[in-house]
Symmetry: D5
Subunit: 94 residues, 10 copies
């Protein structure tokens, strides 16, 4: 079941540089593990912004919330979730 997720990152400018580097590194590892598991099949950078558009593939709303609220950058992000359905013109459908 697919969801469209936009994440806008707002790390405070005065966050300690080591804390920042650490959380960014953990975010990267966390994201890549989910990508490898198949639960986060797409992630793209929005040009000119510290933001991404992602596609998640999960079994339930609860699983998606667990994954997103577990993001190391979660406290520093605005996240907007849009549920997706199969498009009737999708050549890969049915």
């Amino acid at each position: 079941m697919l969801f469209h997720v936009r994440m806008d990152v707002h790390i405070p400018l005065d966050l300690d540089a080591d804390v920042r580097a650490d959380v960014v590194a953990r975010e990267r590892a966390y994201s890549q593990e989910l990508q490898r598991s198949g639960k986060w099949p797409h992630i793209w950078r929005i040009v000119g912004e510290y933001s991404n558009v992602s596609i998640f593939d999960v079994a339930s709303n609860d699983e998606l919330h667990d994954l997103l609220s577990g993001l190391p950058l979660f406290p520093y992000m605005d996240i907007a979730v849009t549920p997706l359905a199969t498009h009737p013109s999708d050549i890969r459908a049915g």
Copy 2:
């Protein structure tokens, strides 16, 4: 080069039913041809709306505008285009 495209369809309620069926059928054929060509790799329905989120893969801005303005439903849609770049955490990058 990837672009995120959201399309919201607003066909007038009083459009002739045959005209409507024709334009929707042509839209479907047009979309599927572009999907097969690889230029329109993803299309998803937004749940509860007559809208889609799509990913286009084109060589230039001009090519993207030509493809979008050629959509049979173009006169009936609001379209928002967001350019995408490779995300540094994407496991398929680099």
Copy 3:
């Protein structure tokens, strides 16, 4: 799996009165059948507006889109879907 759905109805003022009465009657029957099935557990009127807030309980995004796009009033409504998860303070949770 629960979803929060807001529906705002905009039936054209010049719609034929019989057509209007018919679509409203079919909407009511459609809604009540889904309520009885357990897929539409809550529906509330927003005070002062021709709008409702509803909770749907479905197995997937695709099922929800099928239910919503099948609403007799679907062509006359703006619909906004918000996926819900279990709240950690919910006394009925786990």
Copy 4:
């Protein structure tokens, strides 16, 4: 009498960790007591956000304001209240 309430939590990132843990624990206890009393019949997490959608069942606007302004997290939240009425298609309505 039912009200739809959306709460968006914005705890400052630099709030002392003990103060934060304490206020979150008190919020949980306060919420669960109201849930048990029947005045707060529903609470759901919005997927991907530190927000909830709730339904309150109270005797008056004044009672609702007293309950909401007494929330331990009240100083850290944006709250939007929407009054609800019985929907004419609700199968549980008279």
Copy 5:
């Protein structure tokens, strides 16, 4: 129990003049009857707009929705309802 209600009137420019005059006259009579009953204690025109700000005094959300949806101009208005509580500095309180 008090509610703040804003009504913005959008009568179609091409509505038949007699129909318009009739609905406006019925709106006026309906409003004045509710004012006399005490349920609609205040109504003010917003300067420069075909809009009003009103205060309603009703026993429940359901009663308010019945009153508002019964307005002869209801099909031509956007209505926004805000529940009000006693202000702690109000000299007429307690």
Copy 6:
């Protein structure tokens, strides 16, 4: 001459508690004096928000700005003023 005034209070979370208590107490006294004078005939709390909707009755725009900018909480508030006129359906009008 009546004006509709909405005030949204945003006292900084880290304001010294004594300073806060003092300014809130002075606001209350200031408001009640104006209420008694007849210049601030109505004040209501918006349910769930640290906000009020008020009606002012003043002789001029300048007088209203003097009253509002003199509010002890003025530096902590967003204020929106809407001029009101007599509504032609008001039973108390002429």
Copy 7:
């Protein structure tokens, strides 16, 4: 007493040309009479828009609403009124 008024004109594209010419001519005469009377001391066109920004000088909110609602183009305009006060740095004040 001064008010800032913005008027955005939206005459329907299919309005009869003679009706349109007549209402525009009457609007011009009405405006110029108020300008000569001193009640409408300033009117400016917003570059690129069928809109104006005006300053009105009236004795009361009721007088302003009477003047604005009497505009021949009133049914075709969106109007936004902002009350103005003397600025403490105005060299013509005091």
Copy 8:
């Protein structure tokens, strides 16, 4: 003196095809004459939209309004004008 102008075109779907073709042809001729004169040095299509971003180089606000309100498509467009100044980092400045 430079101005940034965004134009969004909204030609009614039911406009007569010949009328439409004529106004679009006249718009093109009008635009190209101004481009050749140096008053409209840049015009770009916004990808996916029936909109353009343009730069105008004129002697005054009045001249700009005359040029824009004379556009054959003016009755069908929303136009937003932003005045531009020399940027201190512009290598062509000074």
Copy 9:
């Protein structure tokens, strides 16, 4: 050449009182000098807000930006500029 300028002042609440008093005094002197020169012919306070609406009369966009960016309060303000043209109904126009 006239421009409509709205300025919204947001001086931080914790700015040193002497610094604040100094910048406000310099703003006043700067404004009054420009008013006397004829370049800032109008300044009005918006009722209930720490904001003004002003009219500037300058020779070019560059001159206007120099004047505005030189305001002592410039770092603390949001400024919105709207270019104005002569209105065809203005009785003072040619």
Copy 10:
């Protein structure tokens, strides 16, 4: 391939003056080097704002994101990117 880029600068008021001067100087050098290379053909100041509108000419979305995210002021800016295509009325086109 052209892109329209708007940059709004929000340097914190309490940033150390030397740090600020340094980042602004580096921004200027960085911008001018890109202007000389032909990748940043236009930059204009928006009158009254600490903002610019720019045109970039790059080979790909990835190149544009690299250029923008490398701006010394990137952490202090909101950036909005709009892809541009050739306008059919552009006299310099084909």
